[in-house]
């Protein structure tokens, strides 16, 4: 049985200038122990989709329809408190900016112990503190650093602390939202290695949100590509990279230096669409070099090809 199944999820932002659909008819499946990366440009809706899973959408974002089935239970129908109990214990989250994601006024130990006690995962504060320092050790930070304040740690260390906090209660799912974007390249690599080894050790599933398809190719089992609020392609990582089906995926790969060793770097013509007023038919058609007649008028339906999915008229 799949750990997580997202079915026809729609998320709207109610803005002053009207409704904005940030995620449209998204469906995904994530198996136990699987690593799924959601790739896309900024504003494609990938973060919104990921944050909706543990109920962390910022207002005015709202799930308007669809289901999120996690371990057989629908998260969209849960009360705030039920969701809260799942967050931090069964689903962990790591955010983009470790500098601002820690409370600057409290020691990291205090912050960890509080979360442990909220989930009644330890009998006493002392036991919780031991758990916290063990969690720090597991991400390569000396356990006695529980006494440190966030400002006493470097950026990379803080991200390790964030990861320790996310995994300390052994969640089944870890959501990492651009966890290395704010860090320098060398630290990036070590953080990704850490995530990979934690996944192996604990057997948890990971959803990584990234704009970097090369990074996704390196670490993921599966890759989903989002464009303008829609999932346009999804499949096993190697296949998606070696043999992209959607012209957008292809363009994305071509514009990545590591994967396409051409002399001049490709860049996709045009700009991402305004989600308040998306193009008719296929949303990518104004920028697509393979566009033909139906692309302008009809929306492409998701098509299954073996265990891959693509939403493009070329395959319909």
């Amino acid at each position: 049985m799949a750990l997580l199944r997202i079915e026809d999820l729609n998320i709207d932002y109610m803005t002053l200038r009207g409704r904005l659909r940030a995620v449209k008819n998204a469906s995904l499946t994530l198996g136990e122990g699987e690593w799924l990366s959601i790739v896309g440009e900024s504003g494609s809706g990938k973060s919104t989709l990921a944050m909706a899973i543990p109920g962390l959408l910022l207002p005015p974002g709202r799930i308007t329809s669809g289901r999120i089935i996690f371990q057989g239970r629908d998260l969209t129908g849960m009360s705030g408190d039920e969701l809260r109990r799942i967050r931090g214990s069964e689903i962990g989250v790591v955010f983009q900016d470790p500098l601002t994601s820690l409370d600057p006024l409290r020691t990291i130990g205090d912050q960890m112990v509080e979360a442990i006690m909220e989930h009644r995962a330890a009998g006493s504060k002392r036991e919780a503190l031991e758990m916290a320092s063990a969690a720090l050790e597991s991400v390569g930070i000396p356990g006695n650093r529980v006494k440190y304040y966030p400002h006493q740690l470097s950026g990379g260390q803080r991200q390790r602390v964030m990861i320790a906090m996310a995994v300390m209660l052994k969640p089944r799912l870890l959501i990492a939202d651009e966890p290395t974007t704010a860090l320098d390249v060398i630290v990036q690599a070590s953080i990704m290695r850490l995530l990979k080894s934690l996944q192996r050790k604990m057997g948890m599933s990971i959803i990584l949100i990234t704009h970097d398809i090369a990074l996704a190719a390196e670490v993921s089992d599966r890759i989903a590509v989002m464009y303008a609020a829609e999932i346009v392609e999804e499949g096993p990582a190697e296949q998606v990279i070696e043999e992209p089906l959607h012209p957008y995926t292809e363009a994305l790969i071509k514009s990545t230096p590591d994967l396409w060793r051409e002399k001049t770097l490709y860049s996709i013509p045009g700009n991402p669409p305004d989600l308040r007023n998306p193009p008719s038919g296929c949303r990518f058609h104004p920028r697509c070099h393979k566009a033909f007649e139906p692309c302008k008028s009809r929306e492409p339906r998701p098509t299954r090809i073996r265990d891959r999915m693509v939403a493009c008229h070329l395959y319909g």
Binding site: L56, L58, E118
Partner: protein, 337 residues
């Protein structure tokens, strides 16, 4: 913590220029004005010229200006603010010792009221940001600040004392109640001597003045808490708390703590405004503190006393900002000296 002590000592030294500047300002204004302060203090009363001369001599007004300037300063170091021009032989420092505890008590009580009301209204506004309640709180923060203290005080007296008969209209303590004065803060004295009758009466006298001054000063806290808390509530670390499954009520507390740092930095300035407001509050409620003293001395044209009050208050302002700095250092671990 040795670093902190050194920092505070350095900050304490910074009080000196503040006092010097305000003293100089007042000194210059008093001396450049044509006319004789002794004559002014005596008003229309006739005093023989030789006695006038004697008075001038006594107050050092015949010395060269720089001698006057430094002699007074030398006195200030020993907590000597000169002698009254009006009441012969009366030391200004003794007056201050008599009057200041009343002002201190009023100021502390008003501070508590203003921070209490300001936090409550600011939190409400931030939590319900964008609602009608939020708008109401914003209007409150502006209107509260524009209330004229004697006016608000009088209206409160009218409602609570004259109509409802709940609270006394003026003074600090019913004259029929005896209280042993230890600190000069009546509420504290009553508690120390376990004099519950006096405690109840002192508190009843304190309610309206503290409420008046507290309300007027609360608006600044309302807006500050609102602005900082609503920012903190959408910050990354709050979302991270939420992602760890921490209860919303606890998250609010953490966000509040973070939003209080700018509030604390504001407190020093607010305390100064509070001391100024106390002057008007005391006059309204016949509260026998520094404010009423200042009014008496202004009316009597006792300029050495007025000068003494200014110099004394400049010390107080410096001391307050020192205390605020210490509090700031205690709640924010990022401060390392």
């Amino acid at each position: 913590m040795a670093g902190l002590a050194r920092y505070l000592l350095l900050r304490a030294l910074l009080i000196i220029p503040t006092v010097l500047i305000l003293y100089t300002l007042v000194f210059v204004i008093m001396r450049v004005i044509p006319g004789d302060p002794v004559q002014a203090a005596l008003g229309t009363r006739y005093v023989p010229p030789e006695q006038l001369e004697l008075l001038r001599e006594r107050h050092g007004l015949n010395d060269p200006l720089y001698v006057q300037y430094f002699e007074y300063l030398a006195g200030v170091v020993r907590f000597d603010f000169g002698e009254s021009l009006v009441i012969e032989g009366r030391k200004i420092a003794d007056d201050i010792k008599d009057r200041f505890p009343a002002t201190l008590e009023l100021t502390i009580a008003s501070f508590i009221v203003s921070v209490g009301i300001g936090m409550a209204t600011g939190i409400l506004a931030a939590v319900r940001r964008g609602s009608k309640l939020d708008t109401a709180m914003r209007v409150y923060s502006i209107v509260a600040y524009t209330l004229f203290i004697p006016w608000l005080g009088s209206i409160l007296i009218m409602i609570f004392s004259l109509w409802l008969g709940l609270l006394p209209t003026h003074g600090r303590l019913d004259p029929r109640i005896s209280l042993e004065h230890k600190t000069g803060l009546y509420v504290l004295d009553a508690i120390l001597t376990q004099n519950w009758v006096a405690l109840k009466d002192a508190l009843a006298h304190l309610v309206l003045p503290a409420l008046t001054l507290g309300i007027v000063l609360s608006g600044a806290y309302t807006r500050l808490v609102r602005a900082n808390l609503s920012e903190a509530l959408v910050s990354d670390f709050v979302r991270a708390y939420r992602a760890r499954g921490v209860r919303e009520r606890r998250i609010l507390l953490h966000a509040l703590r973070n939003s209080l740092i700018p509030v604390v930095t504001m407190m020093g300035l607010q305390m100064a405004i509070l001391l100024g407001g106390a002057v008007l509050t005391e006059t309204t409620f016949s509260w026998p503190g520094m404010g009423s003293y200042l009014l008496e001395k202004v009316e009597a044209r006792d300029y050495t006393a007025v000068q003494g009050v200014v110099v004394f208050f400049s010390f107080m302002v410096g001391l307050i900002s020192l205390i605020v700095d210490a509090i700031y250092a205690l709640i924010d671990p990022r401060i390392r000296y």
